[in-house]
C-alpha cells in the first residue's frame, strides 16, 4: 500500500461514480434511482476537491464548484421528491414504467 495521493482519490471516485451508474441502470424504483444520482454527484464533488488540493492549491475554484454542486443537488433532490410523491398520488406506484402514459 502506497501513501494515498491524487490517483488514489481519483480511482476511488471513479469506482463510486460507476457504482452509482450501476444503480441507475439496474433499479426500477424512482427513489433508488435518485439515490444513485446522489452517489454520482458526490463522486464528482470528491474529484473537484482532490484536484483543488493536489493540482491547483493556489486557487479555490474547486471548492466553489463543490459548494454549488451541493446546492444544486439539494434543489434537485427536493424537486425530484415532489415529482415522485405526485406520481405516487396519481398512480399508487413509483416504478419508472408507471410514468409511461405521459408520453402520449
Amino acid at each position: 500500500m502506497m501513501e494515498p495521493g491524487l490517483y488514489h482519490i481519483l480511482f476511488l471516485s471513479t469506482a463510486l461514480f460507476f457504482t452509482g451508474v450501476y444503480g441507475f441502470f439496474s433499479r426500477r424504483n424512482l427513489i433508488t434511482i435518485l439515490m444513485s444520482i446522489e452517489l454520482m454527484l458526490n463522486s464528482v464533488c470528491l474529484n473537484f476537491i482532490a484536484f483543488n488540493k493536489y493540482v491547483w492549491p493556489g486557487k479555490l475554484d474547486g471548492v466553489f464548484m463543490t459548494l454549488f454542486i451541493i446546492a444544486i443537488a439539494a434543489a434537485e433532490a427536493a424537486l425530484a421528491i415532489a415529482i415522485i410523491i405526485n406520481l405516487y398520488r396519481s398512480h399508487q406506484t413509483i416504478d419508472v414504467s408507471s410514468g409511461e402514459e405521459m408520453k402520449y
Binding site: E3, V21, T32, E38, I49, F68, I70, A75, I84, I85
Partner: protein, 172 residues
Amino acid sequence: MSGSTIIFYLLALITLGSAMLAVSSRQIFRSAIFLLFSLIGIAGLYFWLQYEFIAAVQIVVYAGGITVLIIFSIFLTAKSGESLPKQKPARLIFSALSVFCGAALVMLQIAGHSFPVFSGDAILPTVGNIGKQMLSTEQGGYALPFEVISMLLLAAMIGCIVIAMRSKPLLK
C-alpha cells in the same frame, strides 16, 4: 505505513462498501441507510483532505438534509418492510458489464495521465478565504454565481410547492 494512510483506506472502504450495498440492497429503507453511511464516509474523506468547511457542508446538507428527505419520501410512498421486486438477471448482467467496461476505461485513462505538479503559494481553504472570494465582485469573484444559485433555490422551492400541491382529482 502511517496512521493517515490507514485512515484513508478505512474511509475509502466504508464509502465504497456502503455505496455498493446501497445500490444492491432490495430493502429500500436499508438502501437509504447505506447511502447515509456512504455520504458520511465522503465527509470523512473531506476531513482527511483538510477541507473542513466542505466536510461540514456535506454533513449538514447531505447527511442531514437529503437523506432525511429520502427517508421521508420512502415512508410516504412504500410500505416499510416490503422488499423491491427482483430484477431480470439479463438486466443486472448487462448493467454490471457496461459499468465494468466504463470504469476500466476511465481508470486506464487516469493511470496513463500525468497531472501537472503545482509550484507556488497555496491558498488555505479556510472559511474566511472562501467567504471573501465567494462574495467578491472583482476578477475571480463568485458573487454572480452565488446570486444565481440563490434564485435557483428559491425557484426550486416554489416549484416543489406547486408540484406537490394537492389538486382536485381530474379523472374520477
